[in-house]
């Protein structure tokens, strides 16, 4: 079964690691952020579907839900799987504001998610290779190994990659 490509679907507030050829995908990102960190020199990548900027606890049962604990989980898991810090790179998309008419500050979570992701990656000194964030559109995203391409498809049928 070595030749078979693995396809991993990630749900809202979940995360997964891919160790070989295959795809990591998450459907219908709105204000959430789909973050991929991968090792430039190996077939190793992980994705988290981040919902909120900050965890209310130090050790939440589902760390992938939050930018702070989700990025820490992804980083540590990749290192355990044999990634080296110097070869880690990041790509991410999402963080929309889906309902344009909403004026409530508390609901502008998309922007806050993107800011939190960018800040934590900078703190860990992981270079960001590409992003596709903001706007008012939903995104389905997937990341492929071995190409290390991050694909984005919107409801309007636009498709692009990072």
């Amino acid at each position: 079964m070595v030749d078979e490509k693995e396809q991993i679907r990630i749900g809202i507030a979940e995360g997964a690691i891919l160790t070989g050829s295959g795809t990591l995908m998450t459907a219908g990102l709105g204000s959430c952020v789909g973050l991929v960190i991968y090792d430039e020199t190996r077939l190793l990548a992980g994705m988290v579907h981040i919902m909120l900027p900050e965890s209310p606890h130090v050790q939440p049962p589902h760390p992938q839900k939050y930018a702070d604990t989700g990025i820490a989980w992804l980083y540590e898991t990749l290192l355990q799987q044999g990634a080296s810090h110097a070869h880690l790179r990041a790509k991410y998309a999402g963080g929309s504001q889906m309902f344009q008419a909403l004026q409530m500050e508390g609901l502008r979570i998309g922007e806050r998610n993107v800011r939190a992701v960018s800040m934590h990656l900078e703190r860990l000194q992981i270079p960001v290779i590409g992003t596709d964030v903001g706007g008012h559109v939903g995104r389905t995203v997937w990341f492929e190994l071995p190409s290390r391409r991050y694909f984005i498809r919107t409801a309007r049928g636009d498709e692009r990659h990072l």
Partner: protein
């Protein structure tokens, strides 16, 4: 750490709650469309996030959503989701010259918002009467996109640590017109506990 638990009796009360709300919403919609509106499904349970988007046919299904924020005794988010064919059928009844362009213009969007507003208003009124709560609702916001991308903002405020939320969903069918409208009431996590307490109180006191 917060983890929601709902016992079977409370679940029945929650379902009843959904029925009453939907009944009011059906009456409001039948007045608006001058036809008979039937309430067809009610689902009320503690539901993992992944299943919530499955209710409307999967996360990537394109839907029209009206989002309303509820505040007062409990706070929460309410969504009215409609399939695009259902929206077209609604607009045919509501607007003099329906546009046949691929994107909905301002007029169509505000018609969708108004339908969402009327339906959710009926729902909210029924719930506040039933539970003796005072509830207000925000101005409706409309968007058309993938179901999961529209609902995620609602789940953010509702989910517990196990990523479950209280889902009250209802489907309304306008006779001969097949207008499927799904209601999602997603109380904020704190609101959920208040709501469950009120429901349990109702059960105990008949």
């Amino acid at each position: 750490m917060k983890r929601l638990h709902v016992d079977p009796v409370t679940l029945d009360a929650l379902r009843e709650f959904g029925n009453i709300g939907a009944g009011h919403a059906a009456t409001a919609l039948s007045t608006l469309l001058s036809g008979r509106v039937k309430m067809s499904v009610t689902d009320a349970r503690l539901c993992p996030f992944s299943e919530i988007v499955e209710v409307v046919g999967g996360g990537e299904t394109i839907v029209a959503a009206v989002f309303i924020r509820i505040f007062g005794t409990i706070s929460g988010n309410m969504f009215v989701l409609m399939s695009l064919p259902s929206v077209d059928r609604l607009l045919e009844r509501l607007l003099p010259a329906p546009s046949h362009v691929s994107e909905y213009m301002e007029l169509e969007q505000s018609a969708i918002a108004e339908v969402g507003n009327i339906l959710s208003g009926a729902y909210v009124a029924a719930i506040s009467d039933l539970c003796g709560m005072s509830l207000n609702q925000s101005v409706p916001a409309v968007a058309i996109d993938m179901a999961a991308s529209l609902l995620d903002i609602g789940l953010m405020m509702s989910g517990d640590e196990e990523n479950q939320a209280i889902l009250i969903s209802t489907s309304l069918v306008h006779d001969g017109n097949n207008i499927d409208a799904y209601f999602f009431l997603l109380p904020d996590l704190d609101g959920t506990e208040v709501l469950l307490d009120i429901l349990r109180g109702k059960i105990r006191h008949g």
